[in-house]
């Protein structure tokens, strides 16, 4: 039987609607939009919560991202078509469900070696470094997704004036905890590695520590604010973190 090629799908409506996109024989992506949008993203996490709550047998894991929820499943326990039917039935519940949002305040040592792009960005924007810091720390960010590497947080909500294109040539090694800007997005890097983003500071917190009972500090859907701290305070926090102390937790869930 000749398989039928998918025809172009309708453009995303204002309100997210569910597009089921097969990813082979053991995963399906449910697309809720095709832009970076806080509301679409909130729907993704609400849908993930609803799917989790439904405890559908055969689901292996859920991977929410900016505007889609990927479900990995075991086809021997549930077929993709049946899974889609079950998910479509959850849709209203997902919309009605309120998203939990944990709020974090992340200490950041701005500038310095890890924040090597701070001065250049300030110059580029016609601002002082202190103004860039104040603007970056004034905003509330949304964790759109954790992805690419363990614990890497993609943040939305970067003030427009700070939008800065990525480097043409990625740097080979950016330290863990680096606070980045990539286009219209912000980041908290969790592990050291190469990156083409620009970096304005570093948090002494470990957003990923596999040896910790809760290895990941942040989850998708969380809200984040940054608190500028001095290099001395940063070093003091880092020393406490190194002993395994949990130095911060989320504020009251909203």
């Amino acid at each position: 039987m000749a398989p039928v090629l998918a025809s172009p799908r309708p453009p995303a409506a204002d309100l997210p609607s569910l597009h089921f996109l097969p990813c082979g024989d053991c995963a399906v992506s449910i697309q809720l939009g095709d832009t970076v949008d806080a509301e679409v993203n909130a729907s993704v996490y609400a849908l993930a919560d609803a799917v989790e709550a439904a405890q559908i047998d055969g689901i292996v894991e859920l991977v929410p991202s900016y505007r889609a929820l990927l479900i990995r499943y075991d086809p021997a326990r549930i077929r993709g078509a049946d899974l889609e039917t079950r998910i479509a039935g959850l849709r209203l519940a997902a919309r009605a469900g309120a998203t939990r949002a944990r709020r974090w305040t992340i200490p950041v040592v701005y500038g310095g070696e890890a924040g090597q792009d701070l001065d250049a960005i300030a110059q580029d924007k016609g601002m002082t470094a202190a103004e860039v810091v104040a603007l970056h720390a004034s905003a509330e960010y949304r964790v759109f997704m954790i992805g690419f590497t363990p614990g890497f947080a993609y943040l939305g909500g970067l003030p427009e004036r700070l939008h800065t294109p990525r480097l043409q040539k990625p740097r080979q090694l950016v330290p863990a905890g680096s606070i980045g800007i990539g286009g219209q997005q912000a980041s908290i890097n969790s592990v050291a590695g190469p990156s083409g983003w620009r970096f304005i500071g570093q948090t002494p917190l470990l957003t990923f520590d596999p040896g910790r009972a809760a290895p990941f500090l942040l989850s998708g859907g969380d809200r984040v604010r940054f608190r500028p701290v001095s290099a001395e305070e940063g070093a003091e926090i880092a020393a406490r973190v190194a002993t395994g102390e949990i130095v911060t937790g989320p504020e009251d869930p909203a």
């Binding site: 398989p3 996109l21 990813c23 082979g24 991977v63 990995r72 363990p150 614990g151 290895p215």
Partner: protein
Amino acid sequence: MTIEVLAAGPMLTVQDAGRFGFRRFGVSTAGPMDAPALALANALCGNAAEAAALEFAGVGGQFSAARPVRFAVTGVSCDIFIDERRVLPDESHRLLPGEKLRIGAATSGMWGYLAFCGGIDVEPVLGARATHVRTGLGGFQGRPLRTGDKLPLGRDAAPADICLRLSENSAGIFSRHEETAPIRIVAGPQDDHFAPEILARLTETGFYVTPQRDRMASLLGGAALPALLGHDIVSDATVPGSVQVPGSGQPMVLMAESQTTGGYPKIATVISADLPRLAQLPTGACFRFALISRDEAEDIAIAQAAALSQALSGLQTKPEGVLQSEYLLSFNLISGVFAPEDIDEPDRRGK
């Protein structure tokens, strides 16, 4: 009880079935490039399916054990020697203290597995022993193995003198490296980013495996696949098997150690039954893609899982594994023709 690495191939890592449940936190599944081959290696050693073994790329290495232990090599055809005695893949064998196990270069296949009874007992990280090389997670200190590494072994639960082998009629479900059947794919998730003639190109022209390949991804050569709507999408989740197409138009298949999200359109997904076969193709090998429906792909996945479980439960006891039993008595030992070495490989090729 430890296994000592006397010499290590270039990409020798501890792998188990993979790290599940953490992709939403950016943690790759990692695990084997050829999952059925790892499952076979474990089963030949009487290990549980979740036990950890060693995966090697092309060349294995040399190993010794501190106490008698059984091992099995699967996934590739290669020279395997216990001291000067040649033994076969897809069977378990005993390795005694003082003996040296040598695993040479693969003559066919890319990814081999070496399991030991009891499994490699490194501390699990995020619920798994699989090594994610890129982020240094899991396995033995998060890295490929080196000469001098000493690996802890778990408790050997299986009866100590039973060696197993794959039954002849089950061999077919494991990757045959000479096989030239198309690699089957399911369209999507972003197939609508490509014009119909580009989608047609995906299956009507051949591709080849370039040297740019590792545990993370395999870059393909052949026709370019330009996307209608550009090659940047709002990042979404990937899976092993995702055929993503970056701006160069050269498709890239994500493999076991793939990143969890990506910003390139994914034109198709290699079905899970064929991903190990793609992994095992030699560099430079040409192949075709064949498009099938998701339903067909799921049918194949279900049939493959059933066939694998049947093959693993149908492993045969090797006669040489019971030197004290009636098997020995079935030979005319009194005539003195049989040395133990001959019994070790009855009717097989010599050294």
